[in-house]
Symmetry: C2
Subunit: 237 residues, 2 copies
Amino acid sequence: VAYALFYWPEIQGRGEFVRLALEYASAAYRDVSREDGGTEMARLLRDADTPAFAPPFLRADGHLIGQTANILLYLGRHHATLAPRDEAARLWLHQVQLTIADLVQEVHDTHHPVGSGLYYEDQRPEAVRRAADFRAHRLPKFFGWFERLLAAHGDDAWLLGDTPSYGDLSLFQIVAGLRYGFPRAMRRLERRHRHLHRLHDRVAALPSIAAYLDSPRRIAFNQDGIFRHYDELDDPG
Amino acid sequence: VAYALFYWPEIQGRGEFVRLALEYASAAYRDVSREDGGTEMARLLRDADTPAFAPPFLRADGHLIGQTANILLYLGRHHATLAPRDEAARLWLHQVQLTIADLVQEVHDTHHPVGSGLYYEDQRPEAVRRAADFRAHRLPKFFGWFERLLAAHGDDAWLLGDTPSYGDLSLFQIVAGLRYGFPRAMRRLERRHRHLHRLHDRVAALPSIAAYLDSPRRIAFNQDGIFRHYDELDDPG
């Protein structure tokens, strides 16, 4: 049975973490809103018995599953390529994914520090301050933590050791998105987090991921997503 | 075997969602930092093989488990009083908990919209703007969603229907914290979310929770936690 993914059709956003996992697992799925413009997603948000608070959500086996990390937890239980079988390792992987989700929220808030319903232009001074704090303190803290986890397994290892998991796919997306959004800050940080930056390149070279990135299914980064490029939010040029 | 909880010893914060679950399950646990001032917590954050990015984390059965919602997911698997056995219901409960975690982050950001390392006084104008957006848009959106979930089961039901779960305990904590932080906004919203407000009172009356709230183990709300009261961030008086 094919999965049905519900997410905004014009951005990578949080849905991209799910798309990468589905693609890596070679799972059959429909990206429903890209077919119908969002009609069924809106209906399910309004009428479902277990409505998501916000997209993305996945229809699987008759259930609706929301919250990005929760969707990945579910997919990890059903696809051996995405997560280990061992329960303690699965919980640890989920913990890392939840920390990635926290980082994603902080990235979002660099350009929307006052309100997600307001335009960027209406919160630009606050964004400049928040982004400076993010580049100086939060980004190095998150990256230092990821780097420590990766380095513990030696060179050319994955997040959990020998085998890729959905967590590696998500770390790829984090690096790719931040390179788009904060190219100068990312170049500044690159040498300090070489395992993380190498992981990005190694994930991009996995055959199923390389094929996906090269396909029309991969939406390009743009100024409506979570990762956005505003020059004044990056390191001074 | 007793659990060991690691969290900041002087605030409720995110640790309180875990404390409430441990108390409701009548689980044996040590609140370690309240005994040693945080020494072992600092050591584990620095030296553990699977370090948490931030407190709270729980030591259980030799493993360290971080991220509040992940800890509750784990406890729900080991205590029948906290979560249902059915896998789909457990995932749904976890999804709700992750949405509560998102709200908690937004509450935090009302008083720290620029950076968690800065004093409130150094980000007050930004906080006033963000809190106004929170009261006008975000809080009603989250509360409307919780209310819809509760109302679907009729009066005097719990989040999942007939039996309390850790999600109900967390919703209690949300209402209690927001009543402390935003008393005027909460009074304004009370009539629109009567199931949610009644749920708060019903959780507070559960015997094990009532005993906990009355004990010295319950730290009082204060101006160092997630839920803080700054008069200028609440509805105009």
